[in-house]
Each structure stands twice: as structure tokens, then as C-alpha cells.
Symmetry: C2
């Protein structure tokens, strides 16, 4: 069933409408009266609706059933990714959304080779948010992950440690496994931090450990900066019983 994201207010109307981009998309799909679609507020609430009529490119719907989105994972996983080259960052935003990320946080670290300038950050965030929205639509998510940019590594550590469990993946950690960290205690929220192309500096890893993050390995193969967060997220989703 086709999904459309609308605002929470639009979702709460008795007869929600598909307007603007949603209306155009519905026209392309040649939606007819009686067909069913899903409206979703991107915040976990959705409605099954049937099409009443197409009024000049605007579709009038009727709500059949309101529900909590059934496709959202139990565990809220925040992806913390150090700035990487644009295409890698966009790749991770798209794929992490598909895989069920709750939010995606980007931050600078010592060896980052690319970091957007202050003045272009607004436009970039807009672009990244669109990628997350589109991936959420395609994968049937009920939640659009927010993409958040932080100003420093210290800020990333401070924010990440507010979740029940926070983990930094480091290629020079060989003993402590992700499994071990996940099994230590139950958790509902988790932060997964990974470094940039050139890796994290040892002092950064020590800083993270002092801040309360667990330092884990992702196995004995060196993963690229765009592979590590997706590998970690897949494993956390598996470990928390999603599949």
C-alpha cells in the first residue's frame, strides 16, 4: 500500500487530503476512489485511509483506522557518524533510515577530511533530511529520522551518553565485543558512534571512554567509515529481536 507523509495536524483531520507533492504523486499513481493508502505523520502515528474523490488534483480521503506504525523497531538506535565525504554521509543517511535508525547525528572529529562550512550547513541539513524522508517512505517506516549536526566531538559524546547505552566502535579495540556490551544490561535507547575516513584518534577514544561510552570492536576486518555504522545498526536490530 502506498504511503504518504503528512503533518500531524493533517493526519488528525476526519477527511485528510493529499495536496501538493502528495497530490502529484497520487496522480502519477492514478489513485481511484475506493483505493486504500497509508497516511503517516513521520512521528510513529499512521492512518489507513480510502480515497473518496479526486477534486482537481487534490485527493479527499476517509480515515478507516488510526494506529501506531507497526513497522517501527522496539529499540531506538541513534547513529552518530563523524563527518565524511558527502556521498558517504548521504549513503549512511539513506541506508540507516531503511535499517530502522531513530535519528542520525553528524559531528566533527580530529581526522575529518571534510566538514561543511557554517554557511552551507543549513542547505545540507535540508538535503539530508529529504534523503531520510524519501528513504523512510520507500522502506515503509512510520518515523522519519531527524538528521542533526553537532559542532564538536565533545558535544557528540555528551549527547550520546544520554541514551541507555552508548557505544563507540574502534578498530584498535579487539577484546570488547558489541555482543558483550549489549548483553550487560537491558536498553530501550542506544547510541552507536563511528569515526571518519581516517579513523578516530586514540585520545578521542579515551575521551569517549571517560565520558562513559563503551568501546567495542566490529570484528577483525577494517570497515570503511560508511560501512561500520550500517553493520553496527544491522547487528543491534538483529540482537534486539527485529528479525
Amino acid at each position: 500500500m502506498t504511503r504518504f507523509f503528512v503533518t500531524p495536524d493533517e493526519l488528525n483531520e476526519k477527511n485528510p487530503r493529499l495536496t501538493g507533492e502528495n497530490g502529484k504523486h497520487a496522480s502519477v499513481l492514478r489513485l481511484r476512489a475506493g483505493e486504500e493508502v497509508i497516511l503517516c505523520d513521520g512521528r510513529g502515528q499512521e492512518c489507513r485511509c480510502s480515497v473518496l474523490e479526486n477534486r482537481g488534483g487534490e485527493y479527499i480521503l476517509e480515515t478507516i483506522e488510526r494506529r501506531k506504525s507497526p513497522s517501527e523497531p522496539e529499540v531506538l538506535a541513534s547513529i552518530y557518524m563523524a563527518y565524511a565525504k558527502g556521498d558517504k554521509l548521504e549513503h549512511v543517511i539513506q541506508k540507516a533510515t531503511e535499517l530502522g535508525a531513530y535519528e542520525i547525528v553528524v559531528f566533527p572529529s580530529a581526522r575529518c577530511v571534510s566538514r561543511p562550512e557554517e554557511k552551507s550547513l543549513g542547505k545540507k541539513l535540508e538535503r539530508w533530511q529529504k534523503i531520510a524522508r524519501s528513504a523512510a517512505e520507500q522502506s515503509g517506516r512510520g518515523w522519519i529520522p531527524q538528521v542533526i549536526a553537532l559542532e564538536s566531538f565533545a558535544q557528540a559524546l555528551a549527547r550520546a551518553t544520554q541514551t541507555d547505552l552508548s557505544i563507540l566502535f574502534y578498530e584498535n579495540e579487539h577484546a570488547n565485543t558489541l555482543r558483550h556490551s549489549l548483553e550487560k544490561a537491558s536498553f530501550h535507547t542506544v547510541s552507536l558512534l563511528t569515526g571518519p575516513e581516517g579513523g578516530l584518534e586514540e585520545r578521542e577514544v579515551q575521551e569517549a571512554e571517560r565520558a562513559g561510552l563503551q568501546i567495542c570492536t566490529l570484528g577483525s576486518r577494517i570497515l570503511r567509515c560508511e560501512t561500520a555504522p550500517l553493520c553496527a545498526l544491522s547487528a543491534v536490530m538483529f540482537a534486539s529481536g527485529e528479525f
Copy 2:
């Protein structure tokens, strides 16, 4: 430590040499006498070597230690991916190699929108094999996954079921989890099958089930054809204790 792939014969020499592309790469790195490198046959055997001398662009080495490559996973996971558009296939070959795949098998299925022509397949396989080799080098693998092209879906099923465990992931399967399939019995080899952009047809899934594959879900989000195999592989590596 830098890794170079050589043939098994070259690896067995008392004084292995870096020639050709390897020699050029060593020159770029400005290797000096006394420095250590890893030679690897791409078949799981490797040698720690020290550089003796640079003789006109060829590097003469001395073997310090022979060993089984320590970066290879315990479980041999074969990725079976239906033909997808070129860039997606190449993406999966690169990432699956990083994540520890044993081999990567491509095959046609009913809804494949792109399948290489017979005459161009040889060149494509050569290119894909290069991608696997390069990803193996970068990620520190001791094994270069072979990329294998099969002619039919039936062939894929017949070959996949030769491993201890063979699993097909299907977006319309909601009950049987990967975890459940992995926990049923111990395994050393596993095949992970995923469909093309348009998904597998129901009759193909039934054919797979009759052939002895387990049909599993990867969670309630719809994964793209290039995301599913990497998500499954990450989970299998995690489940088998790699990280």
C-alpha cells in the same frame, strides 16, 4: 601493516618478491629495508615479511612468520544476490567483502531488470573480481571472495543448499526470523539469498522452500535489494560471534 596479495606459489618462496603492481604500490609507499609487510595468498594463508632490498623497482623480502590469516571469520557465508543494476551489484560485492563474505554468487530471477549479456559477462566478472580483491586488500582480509555467475534461479537454489544452512529473505515472510533459523542447528557454512529490485515472485519463494531453503524476514521495513544482503551478512557475523 600494508598487505599485498600474491599467488600461493609466490607466498611459499623463501624470499618472496613484490613485482608488477605490487612493486609499484611498494614504491609509492616508499618501503625501506627493515620495514614489515604482510603477504597474503587470498586463500587464507599469509606471511609477515621484512623488506631486504629494493632492486630496481622489485622488492626482495624475507619471511618472518607464516600463519593462517587471523582476520577470517569462523563461519563461511555465501552471498547469493539476484542480478541488480550494475552499481548496486558492485556496491554489494565491495561491502560484502569488507563484512567478511566467503563468496558472492549472482543469478537471474524472474523480475530482474538487468542481466549482463552472455558476451559481456566475462569482462564483468573480471571487473567484479577486481572490486572484491581491492576491498579484501583494504579491509585486511586474508581471503578474496570469488564472484560467481550462475545461469538460472534453479542453479542458485541447487548450489545454495549445499551449505549447512541456506536462507532466502522475503519481504512477505513475517513470522520466521533469521534468529530462529540460525538457532535451529549449528553451522559452519551458510548461504544468504536475496532478490532483485522488484523482489522475488511468490512461486520462486515456493520453489526455494521446496528446494530446502528456509524463508526468513529481515524485519518489518522494506530493504532495498542492495541493503538486504549486507544487513543479513552483518547479522550472521554478529550472531556467529565475530563482534
